[in-house]
Symmetry: C2
Subunit: 347 residues, 2 copies
Amino acid sequence: MSTLRDVAAVAGVSIKTVSNVVNGYEHVRPSTRTKVEAAIAELGYQPNLAARNLRAGRTGVIGLAVPELRFSYFAELADAVLAAARERGYVVLIEQTGGHREIEIELLRGPRVSMMDGLLFSPLGLSAVDTDVLDVPYPLVLLGERIFNGPTDHVTMDNVAGAVQATEHLLSLGRRRVAVLGAHKDEQMGSATLRLTGYRQALQAAQVPFDPELVVFHDGWHRTDGADTARELIARSVAFDAIFALNDELALGALRVLHQAGLRVPQDVAVIGFDDVAEAQFAMPSLTTIDPHRARIAQEAVTALVERIAAEPTRDPAPRVVTVPTTLVVRESAPPASLAAGSVAAS
Amino acid sequence: MSTLRDVAAVAGVSIKTVSNVVNGYEHVRPSTRTKVEAAIAELGYQPNLAARNLRAGRTGVIGLAVPELRFSYFAELADAVLAAARERGYVVLIEQTGGHREIEIELLRGPRVSMMDGLLFSPLGLSAVDTDVLDVPYPLVLLGERIFNGPTDHVTMDNVAGAVQATEHLLSLGRRRVAVLGAHKDEQMGSATLRLTGYRQALQAAQVPFDPELVVFHDGWHRTDGADTARELIARSVAFDAIFALNDELALGALRVLHQAGLRVPQDVAVIGFDDVAEAQFAMPSLTTIDPHRARIAQEAVTALVERIAAEPTRDPAPRVVTVPTTLVVRESAPPASLAAGSVAAS
DNA sequence: CGTTGCATTTCCAACGTTGTAGACGGGAGT
DNA sequence: ACTCCCGTCTACAACGTTGGAAATGCAACG
């Protein structure tokens, strides 16, 4: 790897002049510029970013910490973050925490962050007792549920409103026995609790009684958990004509079990999920769900982080809290009210 | 952010002594070490990695370039690479190329790589004419199909053997009219062509005639393409009793169309995919497929890259080409021979 | 008591870059 | 002719770190 020094020697000018050419400084005589550019081409010179970073005190790298990339939700989020960051000239260093509290803390505290200008962090293992861990000396933007009330920037989806939309849609189909899969016990402010809150709000608004028997608690939120919770629901032999799965993976797992149990979707049971992962669209039947607009979340988060990075000297601008609205996406598993009526009548 | 200088001032020692403590140098008097550690704790000192990197000439960062993270295959690969890299003390900078040739070239050539000790690169837009682009002055390991015969390290799955396994399995179920979805025209050495080769080899070995009418060519490899190709196959009104989709997404898309067309899987049509993405297991029916062992591919690739980074001074050890074997994963869409017979008889 | 050897610590330079200040030279203004 | 200005270029220092050489202090040795 050649350096500015090498280029300078070949071009017969000073190191600084080469640097000036590389950085587009305007007061360089055209003939000199040409000479330097020739030397750069000849040597295939590439600026050394480590040196530049050291000099400039910034790295052009932002970190993204997520639990696990292999879960569609985070993969799609990472995709969107990468794209948004690229637009602003940043590259992204991705870390997986596995959702483990110790790893999350180690990451927030560790020296790796000194390689980044800021961090987008999607916490999972941390809980309310850890709010002091989030008081870090570098720009930090949290993604996901607002578990913490500290002075940290935060971008999240509107879980409650989304759950209201989902529940209202099921009610609009005439369903009155709406089961919930994947509620969490003893959770403070996670998405599960927020979504359950939205569910109850919608029931109340429609004056449909809340039946605890219809709520299946379960910690995991993956497809197997969807299958497990659906089986449990069926085993309870309580009447239900709709399922609100608190995320799409649960819904997809449930679809499978319903099918095996001989229950038709949506005729016997309407199913709605939450997240609008790519597979939802291709499930059989395709899954009605809530789109949290991941791309916008990523955009907002990167924007907030970049502004925070730029504003750093001033310290303490008020924490920015962004809530991105959700949208109902109607597909086959809980079709539009008009169609559903038709289907039910036809069956 | 405090520096070694600050810590040294507080502890009343020289900068280098602090450095020695930080780096675990053994000849430091215990009392001194304690003093320094106290100062470090007091100031919350974190080494500046940019400076360390400049000094050391290495960054502890490896790059991973993939087409798009939101495709499960790459998300799962990235997950595995991150894990393998972490074990070896590396962090991973992920770049998305979108599969575009210009972006891939820009990445290989650009200054961003000077931030990395090496690059894992999964090319998609590049073709055989670009082999000179791969002659880069830093450690590079290619992932995916071995399109290039250059002197570049390469880790790939055994596409041909996998396709043979898939086809043999379908033949073992007694199917003789095995359609192929997603073949590529005019491709040199991509996975599509290799897998089609395996298919033909297996047919030949079993003395089943090859019928071009059963091969559906199509460039895209996503679910919609699976649906499109399945529709085309049905429209051809050529007899078929099994489908070998050249990847899982195609297979999943096809499942949907088969279902809509009233064809039962596996009774009327046995379906097999390739890749064993997470969803395969949860499809309805669950998808028989070929597991390429992504985790092992990631392991091998990171290992090769790390060794290449370490070996750099010597230059030119022979290119390492690793082919990870594939495994047949039997599920419902093309069940074990014994069961299939049962199902068919029962139907 | 001078020497040697070793543990411990310090000093200096360098990694490659860029900001700042200043040197140099020629044309315009007085 | 002298100054001043401006365009162009260069010298130097610094970002924070670590390798290597050199300095220091101490104890054991002959």
